[in-house]
Symmetry: C2
Subunit: 197 residues, 2 copies
DNA sequence: ACCTGGCTATGACCGTCGTCATAGTAGCGG
DNA sequence: CCGCTACTATGACGACGGTCATAGCCAGGT
């Protein structure tokens, strides 16, 4: 689909993330990744001598950086920045995709967590790092809106975990309602944190 | 471990749920399930002629019913029932397990959702049903505490999605902090819904 | 012309997994 | 003892997946 990366290596990482999003880690084969990226199969072992584990870890890392960068864009797109506005924008990315393309895909970091948390140590560290590089910008944005530093990190964690759970339930029920519910119910709580107590 | 079911069939469903919780659906083999249940391999095709898909679906259904029944127990264990108390009890089940046994296991329904939402239709319906049989008792408990019926379902959805996301992040970070944070931040919001506005 | 090194291209190996086929055992009514 | 049914026991099959091995390109340098 989208070449999305200049080199073939980046395309493979991107394709891996896309396939993991849909089918999960175990169901995503190396051959599938190469085919989806339009890359030769032989390039896999050349660019990723660490095998599938390395590829998955890089895909997870890419997803984490992508999510972190999106936060900055969401902030720029808000006419007046509020915590609830940021959260709504984060959720809207999912509702838009689900309404447009169906509920085929979820979060690749969540998939890697579910399937690899008990097994490989390196992948577990990769998902932890991905969540950290996602939570950082969110917490930073919250402090920039006037949320006390002590609570900003907690609220960022809450936003991300609620969003992940809502994405999960939305896929299960094939309905965006969990996402819209989360935005509606959580919004006031988030905005109430801007004025220092 | 726990025989936990009278018949061998129930033991296999239970074992399947346990293994899916830890390793995911794809990484859980039929042979592993039989071994974990202490059941003969041949019993699998006898009790589950629908193959792995049927076994997974039943494991997911079992998990949903289990979660639904737990809600009643949590209610009974609260000296005075409040929404935040219920949510804290639901989260405590996870924090207790994680502190006691480590972060090896997650929610089997979440695992099945992540790995099967795009593929099999029957499993997707099974996870949707599981979430429904979980959300029902929670919403019912909320109305019993004085939450308006209109909001009870929304709050139940919010509680479950936040809990699922927090479980996910807790496993990723090997830290119960996401769970405790969710309880602390979400509690006041939930209790604020008891008095009709 | 020749070597080097980044990359591509395939085929093969080996393990695993879900499933099927077939045979065996245990209990039981008659 | 027979026949029936429920369940157990194992071996085999076919498919697939990750990885390794080997060989083929095709620059660019000298």
């Amino acid at each position: 689909m989208a070449d999305s990366g200049h080199g073939p290596r980046e395309r493979m990482v991107f394709s891996a993330a896309q396939l993991i999003r849909r089918e999960g880690v175990a169901a995503t084969g190396m051959r599938d990744v190469a085919a989806h990226a339009g890359a030769p199969r032989g390039s896999l072992q050349h660019y990723f001598p660490g095998g599938k584990e390395q590829l998955v870890n890089e895909a997870v890392g890419w997803a984490g950086r992508y999510a972190g960068k999106r936060v900055a864009r969401f902030l720029a797109g808000l006419d007046e920045p509020t915590p609830s506005g940021l959260f709504a924008a984060m959720a809207a990315q999912w509702t838009d995709e689900y309404r447009r393309d169906g509920f085929a895909a979820g979060c690749p970091v969540a998939a890697a967590t579910v399937e690899c948390a008990a097994a490989g140590t390196s992948t577990r560290e990769a998902v932890a790092a991905a969540f950290a590089t996602w939570r950082g910008p969110v917490a930073e944005a919250l402090t920039g809106m006037g949320v006390p530093a002590a609570r900003a990190d907690s609220l960022a964690t809450l936003m991300i975990s609620t969003l992940e759970g809502a994405v999960l339930m939305a896929r299960a029920e094939q309905d965006v309602r969990p996402l819209t519910t989360a935005v509606r119910e959580l919004g006031p709580l988030l905005d109430a944190a801007v004025a220092p107590s």
